[in-house]
């Protein structure tokens, strides 16, 4: 009985396991901890102003916009202010818990509930560009384990108690990675369908007036208004969005692709006024592609002084 069952499990792991292994391989817990902190830190930065000054966006008589849940939009204006305050404090506390890795599953559920409620109540206080990814990643944190395997309060507590270490994130980390890269790739396909790179949409971006979306230093770069430069930037953007997710999957091209990817997001946040959450989610999310072998090679490449000494 047991042997036949064992054989079945072996087969299960053997054939189907190879297909699923892509999403079940444990990822580096420290890199995931970096993503967790970047993600929850980005969420806290994104929402803190509107949650701290509640009456500005959620008080009686304010201009509101409906973007997410219509039922919540209709029904929340009757909620007493003390309850709203309690919800805001709980949400912010949950974000801090997520950042520090204290019960991250509970923290994610409370964060998701709170943030979705507040954005449904009034979508004006927060820009929506970055939120699509947040709604995708937070449920994963709620459902999957492994978010607090390293650099977290939970891990430190277990270590102090002498309990065995928490398992490294596998499904969670891989699905986050999938979510980030799919979004990035789909954005490239969408641009292609809108006529990029031939329509030179970048020229439009760099002809926007000062104080609209470009940062002041980027707006003052006259070089970026030249047609050949904006056309080149359009080509580079589309090529990066379409090719980099694929190149990241190949070990030999991974490091170069990652450098291009991170440079692109650094360029975006440096030149364009976008929410920091957008940057933290995407820039830290792609780092999860690095496995132990990549990291060893990468660190050896860097030849850090402390490594040389040892």
């Amino acid at each position: 009985m047991t042997r036949s069952r064992l054989a079945r499990i072996e087969r299960f792991y053997g054939a189907l396991g190879r297909v699923f292994a892509l999403f079940e391989t444990p990822r580096n817990p420290r890199l995931f901890a970096l993503f967790r902190m970047a993600f929850f830190g980005g969420l806290a930065l994104h929402f803190a102003p509107s949650l701290l000054f509640l009456e500005e966006n959620y008080g009686p008589g304010v201009v509101r916009a409906q973007r997410w849940n219509p039922w919540l939009f209709e029904h929340l204006h009757d909620v007493p202010p003390w309850l709203l305050r309690l919800a805001a404090v709980s949400t912010l506390a949950a974000l801090v818990m997520g950042f520090t890795g204290l019960r991250p599953r509970l923290a994610s559920c409370v964060s998701l509930l709170g943030l979705y409620t507040f954005t449904s109540f009034n979508a004006l206080a927060v820009q929506t560009l970055a939120l699509g990814c947040a709604w995708g990643v937070l449920p994963l944190f709620c459902v999957c384990r492994g978010a607090s395997a390293a650099l977290s309060v939970d891990a430190a507590y277990r270590q102090r108690k002498g309990a065995p270490a928490l398992p490294a994130p596998s499904v969670l980390a891989n699905l986050v990675l999938w979510h980030v890269l799919l979004t990035f790739f789909a954005a490239g396909v969408e641009k292609l369908l809108w006529g990029w790179p031939l329509n030179n949409e970048m020229a439009m971006l760099f002809s926007t007036p000062r104080g609209w979306i470009l940062r002041d230093w980027a707006w003052s770069l006259s070089l970026c208004r030249r047609e050949e430069v904006t056309l080149l930037l359009s080509w580079v953007t589309v090529a990066t969005e379409l090719l980099v997710p694929l190149l990241l999957l190949i070990r030999r091209t991974r490091l170069v692709a990652l450098v291009i990817y991170e440079s692109m997001f650094l360029g975006i946040i440096a030149m364009i006024e976008v929410p920091p959450l957008f940057f933290t989610t995407f820039a830290a999310g792609a780092l999860l592609i690095l496995d132990e072998r990549d990291l060893r090679g990468f660190l050896a490449h860097l030849r850090w002084p402390w490594r040389a000494r040892h």
Partner: protein, 190 residues
Amino acid sequence: MARPETGAQCSKKSVRRGTCAIVCRGAGSGLVVDSLRKLERNVKRRRVLLLCWLALSLAGALNHILSAGRVGGPALDLSLPHLASGHAMFVRIPRTVHVHSYLTPDGQHRPLTDLVRTQGLLYGRARLETNLALHPALLEQICQRHFRASGRATTFLTEEYKLNFHPERPYKKAALVCDERGLSPSRPPS
């Protein structure tokens, strides 16, 4: 998930939870069979979650890409919030944009976002301009709050730019006086 290892030591608690990669000592006992079932169930549950998640995210990406107005495909309402607008990244810049500012008592132009308490960190101007483009009534609210806080009339300036037509200078200018009556038109400054 680790593969089952023969002879691994499992505590009863970990077997009960199905978290231990089994087979424990005393193979063939009811405990082992039970925990193997749990192991299988856990793996299946995880894989169902995986498949659902992957299928949904692919459907969301395709739906968004092929939705109406782009290549004429049908736009499905997938209901889930993360599939609503997750893949749009600066696909198209609007051709007409507005920039809002106000005049300080000493006559200097300052961005309107200075008057908003809950401005976004590191992207305050872009957030305010987007919000004002989608909901112009917000300008009146900013005026009322500012007047309540400062008690003095202020001039709000709106510059309209056509990006296809001399984007380097404003196409239209408007000035509004913000006082106790709210916003009212005024002559734009030269």
